[in-house]
Amino acid sequence: MRGAARLLVATLGLALAAALTRAIGELPAERPSQAVDLRPQVVAHLDQTGVSHPVTAVLLDYRGYDTLLEVAVLALALIALLVLAGARDARLCAPAGSPLLVSLARGLVPVVVLTGGYLLWAGAHRPGGAFQAAAVLAAGAVLLQLAGLMPAWASPGRWLRLGLMLGFGVFLGVAYGLLGRGALLDYPPQWAGALILLIETGLTLSLGLTLAGLFLFLTERRGRP
């Protein structure tokens, strides 16, 4: 029975792989004339988005609504984790920090914070932005915890909860505030750059806390004061 099921899954998987290969092979190298090409449109409206990097323009302006919902997905992931963490009896123990790790963390974390700030600022005109900056900041927090310089988080207090939701709240507030111009997230061109920077700053903080939380809420040190 089990063998037959495996055989079935393997056959289905192979068939899907073969069909995908063929379908992608059939696609013409150049898009046919009737297909839509968004790249010129993205570039053509770039001066109205307040940023000069097309990826940031797509993420926070053209398709900023997708990003808003993605931030909600990350918040939900953290809440689901809190649900699970509340149910755990035994928690993971971090290894005791060795002197080498401690001095490495002390030296590295300031650089990490600086890099995060730079990535946030750079997002407007080159690859970077809130998600990357937040990932770097979260890595710094994990490093501090592993080195034993920062305790793991038990359950989020009021300020931590506020910090976790701040970026999402700012983003949602801006999106709704611009509804007066006729549509959600309809940035006025002269304010777009500043508003996007405001949103990205909030997101850097909150996403950094969220990503760090995904690690820190499940970790607890034992045997040390």
Binding site: L69, I79, Y187
Partner: protein, 482 residues
């Protein structure tokens, strides 16, 4: 321009996101009252949107002011508005119920993060119903799936955890299949906007990439809807979750997948999807029979109601082979979706009360309930009337329209499935009622249950029955599609 701030499509997404975030900041177990008030507002917004669509036809809201295909559009037509109305009204009733349910000492620990998760769940549903963009739909599916999985896990009993994990795996694989389809379509046509994609797919003969994309997306959505044979994750997930969660999942979340299949079927995939109609109908028929049969065999109340969901979802897919034969099949599907949504929320709410009162989730424990909890049992019975399809319920009208459509299309084979499914539904509903009317054993003890729980279940059940009397308005809304 203060009027713009009351835009219903935007409000229906922003408002639940806002109260979900606020409930999280307020802290564990808090935010229920705010949720109820906000949901009342959402009901008003959905009604406003319904009136607007009836009067002036479908609406489009271009987020960011760009418009498709560069930006993302929100679109509302009759189909959208019907699902939005169902979602807001069921969510409001469940919120009222959940405030009572989680206030109970035994469930307080389960409800710690219920409110933010419910807010995100409702926001995801509304965003999904309104979205007119394939990639944005993927994001809403992710949000919906994650909220639903998290809600199944609340409380964290071992069985619940296993059910949640299984649900998570199915949900992720299904999302992956859907996303693969979106990627193929974007590669072939350079756009993910439904409105732009429709003419592109209709022009020229369909390529393998298009058909494969449609098949992958369809398979993913069917798994999320738990259509037979993808149903295995549903009974444990819906059976083990706390009652308010089960009500939300069974009444609303599984409908989202069905709604999308219907939306894509009637929209861009119309030229590609026709050959799959009989297959979907056959799977639906199998679901009706198999789900009902399992509901007849299980020993647990909530498991019985969950298997009944598997069966009732089958009816929704019976309409796909009949859609070409006129508008009645679509009306039948939407009436069934709305009637089942109300009835199933009522049934899980009632089942939650029964479990709370008897202290266990088995049919054997129900003896004597009839004299102690008459309102709850009446609610369960009324919801059962809708599932069986007795007049004047919404379920009766849906099944009537379905049989009518089958006769018109000359596809008589579906008729015995509809009638047989109704009889099986009667059998499993009477299993519960019969047990409840037995005399209680002398040692039986019943916990007191807040009145609020009983009456919310009753209100939902009554709505599902009375829906049959007001079906004209609902069908007119569908006609507003133009």
């Amino acid at each position: 321009m203060p009027a713009a701030y009351a835009d219903p499509s935007a409000g229906l997404i922003v408002l639940p996101l806002a109260w979900a975030a606020a409930a999280f900041v307020l802290g564990p177990g808090r935010g229920g009252g705010m949720a109820v008030v906000a949901l009342m507002g959402q009901c008003a917004l959905a009604l406003g949107l319904a009136v607007g669509v009836m009067q002036t036809g479908p609406r489009v809201h271009a987020v960011g002011g760009w418009g498709a295909p560069l930006g993302i559009d929100l679109a509302a037509d009759g189909l959208t508005v019907l699902m939005l109305l169902l979602a807001q009204s069921v969510a409001l009733a469940v919120a009222v119920y959940a405030r009572g349910y989680f206030a109970d000492h035994a469930h307080r620990a389960q409800g710690l993060w219920f409110w933010p998760q419910m807010g995100f769940l409702v926001a995801a549903l509304n965003a999904l119903f309104l979205s007119a963009d394939l990639f944005n739909l993927y994001v809403t599916l992710e949000l919906l799936g994650l909220a639903a999985v998290g809600l199944v896990a609340v409380g964290g009993a071992a069985g619940q955890m296993a059910a949640a994990l299984r649900y998570l795996v199915v949900s992720l694989i299904a999302s992956g299949a859907y996303l693969m389809g979106v990627a193929l379509l974007y590669g072939a046509h350079g756009t993910v906007s439904l409105a732009t994609l429709g003419p592109l797919l209709a022009a020229g003969s369909p390529r393998l990439a298009d058909s494969l994309a449609a098949a992958l997306m369809l398979a993913g959505l069917l798994a999320k809807t738990a259509l037979f044979p993808f149903h295995a994750w549903l009974p444990p997930a819906h059976g083990r979750a706390p009652a308010p969660v089960s009500a939300l999942l069974s009444a609303l979340v599984v409908k989202a997948g069905f709604y999308l299949v219907l939306r894509l079927w009637l929209g861009p995939f119309a030229p590609l999807a026709a050959p799959a109609g009989p297959l979907l109908g056959a799977l639906g028929a199998a679901a009706v029979l198999f789900g009902s049969w399992q509901a007849l065999r299980t020993a647990h109340i909530k498991r019985l109601v969950a298997w009944s969901t598997v069966a009732q979802l089958g009816y929704l897919f019976l309409v796909f082979p009949l859609l070409d034969s006129g508008g009645q099949a679509l009306a039948a599907a939407m009436l069934q979706a709305v009637a089942h949504g109300l009835a199933k929320a009522a049934m899980f709410a009632a089942a939650g009360v029964l479990v709370l009162a008897t202290g266990r989730d088995t049919l054997d424990g129900l003896a004597g309930v009839a004299s102690r909890l008459p309102v709850t049992l009446f609610a369960f019975g009324l919801a059962g009337v809708t599932l069986m399809g007795l007049p004047p319920s919404g379920g009766f009208l849906a099944k009537w329209l379905l049989i009518d459509a089958a006769f018109r299309a000359g596809q008589w084979g579906w008729v015995p499935v509809v009638i047989g499914g109704g009889l099986l539904a009667a059998a499993y509903v009477f299993r519960v009622l019969r047990q409840a009317f037995l005399l209680a054993p002398p040692a039986a003890r019943f916990q007191p249950v807040p009145r609020r729980l009983e009456w919310t279940a009753f209100a939902l059940a009554a709505a599902s029955v009375l829906l049959g009397l007001r079906a004209g308005e609902l069908l007119a809304l569908l006609g507003a599609d133009g």
